[in-house]
Symmetry: C2
Subunit: 344 residues, 2 copies
């Protein structure tokens, strides 16, 4: 069987996913007997196209590069909005890759809800719907006998969620502690070299690590969404965004950094969740981390999570926390996982 994929959102990550789908077609067919066509792409800015026999991904990528949109695609139906694309293209899998919105979770939540109700599997990198509505969406998936996968919502393609859910299945995870935001870690790493916050932030923005409006990163919202997801998905909690104590990095000055250095410590934006007597408490804040702590040594845009378990004590996974191809890769792995589950 060949999967029919519809992609909702053709931003940076969506394009990375399309690139991987194009490059890895033969590899995935040979290694996993996984076959697919992308039958539709819909994006409010970049345009929409649907072709029942599958789109030519090379043409899609060239158009985006050349025109900034896919309106010039050579065939198929144009201009369908995302909901129509989800409902009417006969897709089995919806890749929901629209921007995160931590206030309402929309439009992503509506797209995911609709897709599951319509009997489609969903893969997403969108933190909003999972941080805000995981229980509802997970229940909806179960009721419809469909799979909802979202590895890319935490540590991009670095498989932190799957590590804790499948390969640590027998362990009771009692604490999760990590550096889950690359931008702030980049800023602290550069401040450790003596540079000041404003200058490093500007550099991070120039390099594409930070947004023009950097609040989601530097005020800790992104890290907060991720620790909520980890708490609810991995620890079985039911906490809300508003339950999490949150402190960003904007108050940390160069003199704080120097003081930490004198104590042989480094500032890191730490997201943590602890389970005690069945209750999970989560928090995001800058912490001074000791040299003996592995998180001390995670630098630049890299991320890492330490899982404390009953049987293994601490298991750490580290890797890239963001990036076009890296996050696109999480969708690819979610796709493989759906393939492996459904062929059995």
């Amino acid at each position: 069987m060949s999967f029919r994929i519809a992609i909702i959102g053709l931003g940076t990550v969506g394009q990375g996913f399309v690139e991987l789908l194009r490059e890895k077609r033969t590899y995935l067919k040979n290694k996993y007997t996984l076959e697919y066509e992308v039958v539709a792409i819909s994006d409010p800015v970049k345009g929409s196209v649907y072709h029942d026999e599958g789109l030519d991904l090379l043409e899609i990528l060239s158009l985006v590069k050349k025109d900034g949109n896919i309106n010039g695609y050579s065939s198929g139906n144009k201009g369908w909005d995302s909901l129509k694309t989800i409902k009417e293209t006969g897709a089995d899998i919806i890749a929901e890759i629209t921007p995160t919105n931590l206030d309402t979770g929309d439009p992503g939540t509506t797209f995911i809800r609709t897709a599951l109700q319509e009997g489609k599997h969903v893969i997403t990198t969108n933190k909003g719907p999972i941080a805000l509505h995981y229980r509802e969406l997970n229940k909806l998936a179960t009721e419809n006998n469909k799979i909802l996968k979202f590895e890319g919502t935490v540590l991009s393609g670095t498989p932190a969620l799957n590590l804790s859910l499948s390969t640590l299945a027998g362990a009771d995870i009692t604490e999760i502690r990590g550096i889950v935001n690359g931008t702030t870690n980049y800023i602290f790493t550069k401040m450790d070299e003596g540079r000041n916050y404003a200058e490093v932030l500007k550099e991070a923005q120039r390099l594409g690590y930070a947004e023009t409006k950097p609040d989601a990163d530097v005020e800790g919202w992104d890290a907060l969404a991720k620790i909520v997801i980890l708490s609810n998905v991995v620890m079985g909690a039911d906490i809300k965004v508003s339950d999490v104590e949150r402190k960003g990095i904007t108050n940390i000055t160069q003199s704080d950094i120097q003081q930490a250095k004198r104590e042989n410590k480094r500032y890191k934006l730490i997201a943590r969740a602890c389970k005690k007597n069945g209750k999970v408490n989560a928090r995001v804040s800058p912490e001074k981390v000791e040299e003996s702590d592995i998180l001390f040594h995670i630098s630049g845009v890299n991320n890492a999570i330490v899982f404390k378990t009953d049987a293994l004590d601490c298991v750490t996974i580290s890797g890239p926390g963001a990036g076009r191809i890296e996050t696109g890769f999480s969708l690819l792995n979610d796709l493989i996982s759906i393939h492996q589950t459904t062929i059995k």
Copy 2:
């Protein structure tokens, strides 16, 4: 359905596994609807007992602690050898936990081969059979439609194999590099503190980290077995133990350590496998590692593996590399994995 487990080998790890099976019975039933009985245990030194309705694990553990063997068990059939236990106890799953033998792979290989031929799933922590006969045993499992799992052969319960096989499924792993032996890493860590090799080795032996005959660890054989397993299982290679260049740590003196320190480096016993033009080269040797390398910071008996991939660059997993409960935990996770695969 409730699994019937037969345990072959009741050494340290076997006992750790029995403890976990006892402690986690309710947890696993509630979380995964996984149920089991241990119907038989067979060990040439500790004794053998088979009871069709399942053994009382608390009684087993008390007997081992009190008598050093299970001959005094209150009921069931006594004295069956391992092959009879594998064949005639009606077990669905054989937990093969006998000592590693890198020359012939036996008796473990014979036990695993017999179990698969008899139509039983196998979980093992024994490096010998997997390092020497992976292809044959894997083929045998496929032919008999049974599952062979061996997470504990590399990094004990830290899920390095499952990480690379399932959660990094879409990535092409081009290099594997790691600290995969806890004993030698403990020795180097203590030598970094200025102590000499002989003294630290004695301490490691006293603490149970090193054997009386420490060659398997300090001459690099244990690390070699693990990199062969990683090469063949994760990279799809077909290399033999004799294909791997191997150098132990016994020639590294305190003066080498001090020289490395002056270069801001640390000695680590590094196992590595590189894939180039479809061919895998593997090697084990002490290397001077730079401070910017995450392996520089893995100390004591901890282990870590860095997977270099096409899509994600480097993903690192670190955690305990040995231990009674830690290695027992790998068997538990293999058991859960068989349960989840077979209930679908």
